[in-house]
């Protein structure tokens, strides 16, 4: 008899976990709240992934294909775990979907519920939603994905674009003190794409620190040295309406120590990652810990970042904190290995 393992969340981490378990011969129940697999990258139609600019479909599409064609994976679309109980070393879960509820016993569980993009509308100073030409990175990703990269206000190509880093991150005011890790890299990636698309459109990045860690740094160098993307040190304090249908970014140039108010055709807010409402929900439902940042808390952040505090329940991907897609995929595999070991041991 083969093992039964529950994977909650069909994003990069959950997909990879499910695929790996399936290859081991495990029966996988993959519970996805949306009507499609692929998580945020699919939902917001990410076009190219950093660091090598490969089409997102090469990665996400491939994972979905493997999951959908894997014989041992049962995907529950538009569904959720509505009830969850421990049953000795095993777990009884009720999976609720449009077609009704199903109760099953699982040997172990992988939580891969992912993250939510910070909603920049929550930080009024950025005037997101107020000005059409203020968008955020997920909007830009979608616009690029749909090949519709123009100024939302008038449909014309922009001549001057600002990228604003650390929106909703590293900001006690909005309640998020952590760094979202990928927004810097995503922003330089988008600036490059933009410059390739509109060579005569100027790109400026307003930053406090640029955190393109590891080899992502290559993209940052490329943005500056090959695409003349200009970085300006200073966080933007407010965005107001400017002359000729522009939006004005007001900030302090901390390197020259002086105020600036620069009009732009378009502003892209690098909104960060949050645990989202699903994190506290899954935390209370499964009885696993939530950290002070609103993400799920690993048992030991260094030694076992893929284990929850509850034996048999494992964590993977951005549900434990902001991370790049590649890291999520890696964690999916790590969690799969651990969930499998647990299941086999307690058979």
């Amino acid at each position: 008899m083969s093992e039964n393992i529950l994977v909650i969340g069909g994003g990069p981490a959950g997909l990879n976990a499910a695929v790996m378990l399936s290859e081991l011969g495990v029966n996988v129940a993959l519970v996805e709240r949306d009507s499609f697999l692929g998580g945020n990258p699919k939902k917001f139609k990410y076009k190219f992934l950093f660091p090598d600019m490969q089409p997102a479909d090469n990665v996400i599409g491939e994972l979905i294909k493997r999951a959908e064609s894997g014989g041992n994976i049962k995907v529950y679309y538009s569904s959720e775990v509505s009830d969850f109980k421990e049953n000795g070393k095993k777990f009884d879960a009720v999976i609720k979907s449009a077609s009704g509820s199903e109760t099953k016993t699982f040997d172990s569980v992988i939580v891969a519920t992912g993250f939510e993009h910070f909603d920049p509308a929550r930080d009024a100073k950025y005037s997101y939603q107020l000005f059409d030409d203020v968008i955020d990175i997920k909007d830009l990703e979608r616009m690029m994905g749909e090949n519709n990269f123009v100024r939302p206000s008038n449909g014309k190509p922009p001549k001057k674009v600002a990228f604003i880093l650390c929106v909703g991150s590293r900001d006690r005011h909005v309640g998020n003190q952590y760094c979202s890790r990928v927004c810097c890299t995503v922003s330089v990636k988008q600036a490059i794409e933009m410059r390739e698309h509109f060579p005569d459109c100027e790109a400026y990045i307003f930053y406090m620190d640029i955190r393109t860690y590891g080899f992502f740094e290559d993209l940052y160098w490329k943005a500056m040295e090959e695409h003349d993307v200009q970085i300006v040190k200073g966080r933007i304090a407010e965005i107001t309406s400017g002359p000729d249908n522009t939006v004005v970014c007001k900030g302090e140039d901390t390197l020259l120590r002086g105020p600036f108010e620069i009009p732009f055709d378009m502003v892209v807010l690098a909104s960060g990652m949050e645990g989202g409402p699903q994190s506290p929900e899954i935390s209370s439902k499964l009885g696993i810990e939530l950290d002070e940042h609103g993400f799920l808390k690993p048992e030991n952040v260094t030694l076992s970042p893929f284990k929850s505090n509850k034996p048999g329940v494992f964590l993977a991907g951005a549900c434990t904190g902001p991370k790049a897609i590649s890291d999520s995929i890696t964690e999916g595999a790590a969690a799969a290995m651990n969930a499998y070991t647990y299941a086999v041991k307690n058979r």
Binding site: E202, Y204, I210, W221, M224, E225, D228, Q230, I231, V232, K233, D253, L255, L256, G258, P259, F260, E261, I262, P263
Partner: protein, 262 residues
């Protein structure tokens, strides 16, 4: 708006004439250029002379002028301006910064990147103090070559602030001219002539007759080196090189040709 003139300076009443913005409590916090004040002014029949009409002009930077960046990027010396990320390694390495508070290559590069001429103007007098020791270029993690960026900066200042160059950088400009005349014009450098010209240009002709200079000249005359200077001469057929270089400079489509009129 009617303006009435009172000749306060010559009124002889002994009352000192107020300096511009003098009465502002925090006067020392505001730069001169940012204060506007009419000494004598009557509006709608009301005397609002001096402090009654003082205005403080905003110092907000409202433009990033990228054309400027493009201009510098085209020059040989400034071609790597897009690389600079403002880490400050250049200023940290600098030989001159410890001597002159306002000399900051990192900031100069940034002003050029953003086309912030307003700010750059404040540093014209010190911006040419680079000694060309290349410590910055040696250590720059992105090989921006800040030492040569200072050459691009000089070009920029020359093009955009010709008046200030005439007043604040008169000597530098003249010495540079002597160098160029010799180097391009004659193909070789007459060090003795350069030295005397420079001292003359700085208005210190008397110094040439001082003991130190006199001793040195006397020594060189005595040991014969003074005559070797006279024998230096020109490279053979130098004029073809001279013309070729001048033509090249004239044809250049960058700020490098602003001083091409050699």
């Amino acid at each position: 708006m009617a303006i009435e003139k009172h000749d306060k300076e010559n009124s002889g009443g002994g009352r000192p004439v107020a300096e511009k913005g003098e009465h502002i409590v925090a006067r020392h916090l505001i730069e001169d250029d940012n204060i506007k004040e009419e000494k004598n002014l009557v509006i709608d029949g009301v005397d609002v002379s001096g402090r009654w009409n003082t205005f403080i002009i905003s110092r907000v930077n409202s433009e990033f002028d990228r054309s400027f960046f493009e201009e510098i990027k085209k020059t040989v010396a400034g071609s790597r301006i897009n690389r600079c990320w403002q880490c400050g390694m250049c200023t940290a390495s600098c030989t001159v910064t410890p001597l002159y508070r306002r000399f900051n290559p990192r900031a100069f590069i940034y002003m050029m990147q953003l086309g912030n001429l307003k700010e750059l103007k404040k540093y014209i007098d010190v911006a040419w103090r680079c000694v060309g020791c290349y410590k910055c270029s040696q250590r720059c993690p992105k090989q921006v070559n800040p030492a040569e960026m200072m050459e691009a900066l000089a070009l920029v200042i020359k093009k955009y602030f010709p008046e200030e160059v005439k007043t604040k950088l008169k000597l530098d400009e003249e010495v540079k001219k002597i160098y160029e005349d010799m180097i391009i014009g004659h193909g070789r450098l007459d060090l003795a002539k350069l030295h005397t010209y420079a001292i003359q240009k700085s208005g210190r002709t008397k110094e040439l007759l001082g003991k130190i200079e006199r001793d040195a000249i006397f020594k060189m005359v005595k040991d014969g080196r003074a005559f070797s200077v006279l024998r230096l001469g020109k490279p053979h057929n130098w004029s073809s090189s001279k013309e070729a270089m001048e033509n090249y400079l004239r044809k250049l489509n960058t700020i490098e040709n602003t001083e091409a009129g050699v």
